[in-house]
C-alpha cells in the first residue's frame, strides 16, 4: 500500500488539504481524531467558515426586499451562490434551484407540493429498499393522504437493486419513481440515467436522492435527465441549515407553492395571493442567507482542490483499500457491492459485538464511525441485520487511518471474545 499510498495522497494533495480543516487537528480521548463519519456530515474548511463570517461582519442584511447597500450586497451574494449550485450540477438555469434546509426538506417539498396536487387513488409511487428514511417516510405520508400506493424495488443480497423486478413494478400506474443515487448504507451507486429513462418510458417522473451522490461524485442533471434532485450542503463541506432541490423549470412553474409567507408572493389580498417567480415561489420567509453563501463557498472549495471527478476517484481507491484491510478482522461481515460499484463508505457487522459497542470502543481510539440503522431500516431488515457500523470516507481521509480502524476493531474483538 505505502507506495501507492503516497501517489494517491499526492494526487489530491491530501496532506495540504487537511490543514484547511481545523477540526482534523483535534484530539479526542487524548488521541488524534480519525473522522470516518462523513456520510452523516462532512467537516468544513476554513474557506466556508470564513465566507459566512465575512457575511455576518460586513453585509449582514435581509435579502430581496431591501434598497440599501447591505441588502443589495447580501442579495447579490445569496443569488450568486444559487448560480454556483446550478452550475455545479449542470442545471439549465439558476431558476431550477430551490434553497431548502436539507435533502429531507427537498423531498418533502416535492411530496407535498407535487404529490398532493398530482397523486390520486390507484396511482403508485415507486421507491427502493435501499432508501434513506428521508426518501421513504414522506412518500408513506403522502400516499396515505392521497390514496396512492407505495411500492418498493427490492434489493439483492449483494446490495444491488433487483433490476429484474423493476420492469414489473414500473407501470403506467407509476407516477413517481424516487431513488437514491448512492446508498448511505450499502454504498451502492445504481445506474441513475437508465432508471430515469425507464421511469420516463412509463410516464412517471424521476426524483433522485442525491444526498450522498452530489457530495461524492460528479453529478449532471441534464445527463441524468432527472426531474428532481435533492441534496444537502452539510455533507459536502457546506454549513448545516441549507440544502437544495433541483427541479426542471416547467415542473416548478406548474407546481403549487409549499411553504408560504413573505418573499414567495407577488401580491396578497385578504382572500387570496399570487406567487412570485420561480424559484422564489418556493422560498418563504427569511432564508438561510449566510448558509447559502457558505454553500457557494463549499462548491468553490471542492472545485479548487480538484473537483468531483478527482474526489470520487480518490474515495474509490480508499474504499478498495479499506475493504481489503477489513478482511483481516475476524468475524467481520461487510455488506454491499464491491468497491467499483460503490461510494466511499462501508457498513459492517462484527460477530458477537453490537455495533454500538464497537463504535464506543473505536471512539476510545479517536475513531468516529456511525452505528445503527443509519436511517435506513428497510435495507437492514432486508439483509437480516439489526444494525451495522459504518465507516465513511471523504477526500481528507488518509490511507493510514484505515490501519488504525483495523487495529481498533481487533481490540474490540479482544475485549468481547477474551475478556
Amino acid at each position: 500500500m505505502s507506495e501507492k499510498r503516497s501517489e494517491l495522497v499526492k494526487q489530491l494533495n491530501v496532506e495540504e488539504i487537511r490543514r484547511d480543516f481545523p477540526v482534523l487537528s483535534r484530539k479526542v480521548h487524548g488521541v488524534p481524531l480519525i473522522y470516518l463519519d462523513n456520510a452523516a456530515t462532512s467537516q468544513k474548511p476554513m474557506a466556508v467558515i470564513e465566507a459566512m463570517n465575512l457575511f455576518y461582519q460586513r453585509e449582514n442584511s435581509n435579502v430581496h426586499r431591501g434598497i440599501h447597500t447591505l441588502s443589495e450586497e447580501a442579495t447579490a451574494d445569496y443569488e450568486a451562490a444559487r448560480k454556483k449550485i446550478a452550475r455545479f450540477i449542470n442545471a439549465k438555469s439558476w431558476r431550477e434551484i430551490i434553497y431548502t434546509r436539507n435533502a429531507t426538506e427537498s423531498i418533502n417539498l416535492v411530496a407535498y407540493s407535487w404529490g398532493l396536487a398530482n397523486l390520486h387513488p390507484g396511482d403508485e409511487v415507486l421507491i427502493t429498499e435501499m432508501e434513506h428514511h428521508a426518501n421513504i417516510v414522506p412518500w408513506q405520508l403522502i400516499a396515505e393522504r392521497t390514496g396512492a400506493t407505495l411500492r418498493y424495488v427490492p434489493i439483492t443480497l449483494q446490495g444491488y437493486l433487483d433490476l429484474d423486478k423493476l420492469n414489473g413494478l414500473l407501470t403506467e400506474k407509476t407516477k413517481m419513481f424516487a431513488f437514491t443515487a448512492m446508498s448511505n448504507v450499502l454504498g451502492t451507486i445504481p445506474p441513475v440515467k437508465m432508471l430515469v429513462e425507464k421511469a420516463h418510458a412509463v410516464g412517471a417522473l424521476a426524483l433522485v436522492d442525491g444526498a450522498q451522490a452530489v457530495s461524492h461524485m460528479p453529478v449532471d442533471v441534464q445527463a441524468w435527465n432527472c426531474d428532481f434532485l435533492a441534496f444537502s450542503a452539510h455533507k459536502m463541506c457546506g454549513p448545516t441549515g441549507i440544502g437544495a432541490l433541483y427541479a426542471k423549470r416547467q415542473l416548478l412553474e406548474e407546481m403549487p407553492p409549499f411553504l408560504s409567507g413573505g418573499d414567495m408572493i407577488r401580491s396578497v389580498w385578504m382572500d387570496h395571493a399570487t406567487w412570485n417567480d420561480v424559484p422564489h415561489k418556493f422560498e418563504a420567509g427569511t432564508p438561510a442567507i449566510a448558509e447559502a453563501i457558505g454553500f457557494g463557498a463549499a462548491i468553490d472549495y471542492l472545485q479548487k482542490i480538484g473537483g468531483m471527478e478527482a474526489i470520487h476517484r480518490y474515495e474509490q481507491e480508499i474504499i478498495a483499500a479499506a475493504m481489503t484491510a477489513l478482511q483481516e478482522v475476524e468475524g467481520l461481515r461487510m455488506i454491499g457491492p464491491p468497491p467499483e460499484d460503490r461510494g466511499g463508505l462501508i457498513s459492517f457487522a462484527l460477530d458477537g459485538i453490537h455495533p454500538h459497542d464497537a463504535a464506543a470502543i473505536l471512539d476510545q481510539d479517536g475513531i468516529a464511525v456511525r452505528a445503527g440503522h443509519h436511517c435506513a431500516q428497510p435495507s437492514h431488515d432486508r439483509l437480516g441485520i439489526e444494525a451495522t457500523d459504518r465507516a465513511s470516507f471523504y477526500f481528507y481521509n488518509l490511507p493510514e487511518e484505515i490501519d488504525m480502524l483495523v487495529r481498533s476493531l481487533q481490540r474490540a474483538q479482544a475485549i468481547f471474545h477474551h475478556p
Partner: protein, 133 residues
C-alpha cells in the same frame, strides 16, 4: 452615465409622466408588477401593420419605474415591433442616462418587461431577469 440617480430629467418624467392614461380600444393591454417592491405598470398599445401606432401607460411606483415608463413611451410611438423586439437593458439605461444598481434595475426594466410580455408573451422576457448562468 451619471452616478446620482436623481437627475432633474428623471424627476421631471416622474412628476409629469408622458403618455400617461388610457387609449380608446387598445389592441393590447398588459399589466405587470414588481413583486418585491410593488411597482405597477399597465401598458396599452394600438398596433397596425406590426407598428405601434399609439402607446400609453398607467401605473404607480418609484421614480425610476415611472420615469422609465414615461421615457419609453415617448420612444416607442410609431416604432415597428420588429425593432423593439431587440430592445433590452441597454436601450432603457440609455434613455434613463444614469447608473443603476442591481436592485433598482428591476424598477427600471419593469416597463420594457411589461411591453415585451404584452406583445410577445410572458416567456419572452430575456432582459435582466434572464437565465444568465
Amino acid at each position: 452615465m451619471n452616478d446620482d440617480l436623481y437627475q432633474a430629467n428623471i424627476i421631471d418624467h416622474y412628476q409629469h409622466p408622458r403618455h400617461y392614461g388610457h387609449l380608446e380600444n387598445p389592441d393590447i393591454v398588459y399589466h405587470d408588477v414588481n413583486p418585491n417592491c410593488g411597482d405597477e405598470i399597465t401598458i396599452e398599445l394600438k398596433i397596425e401593420d406590426d407598428v405601434i401606432r399609439e402607446a400609453s401607460f398607467t401605473g404607480h411606483g418609484c421614480s425610476i419605474s415611472q420615469a422609465s415608463a414615461s421615457m419609453m413611451m415617448e420612444e416607442i410611438q410609431g416604432k415597428p415591433l420588429a425593432e423593439l423586439r431587440g430592445w433590452g437593458k441597454e436601450e432603457i439605461l440609455d434613455l434613463l442616462g444614469v447608473k443603476i444598481g442591481p436592485v433598482r434595475m428591476k424598477c427600471a426594466l419593469l416597463p420594457l418587461k411589461t411591453l415585451k410580455a404584452g406583445v410577445w408573451g410572458p416567456s419572452n422576457w430575456d432582459g435582466e431577469d434572464a437565465d444568465d448562468m
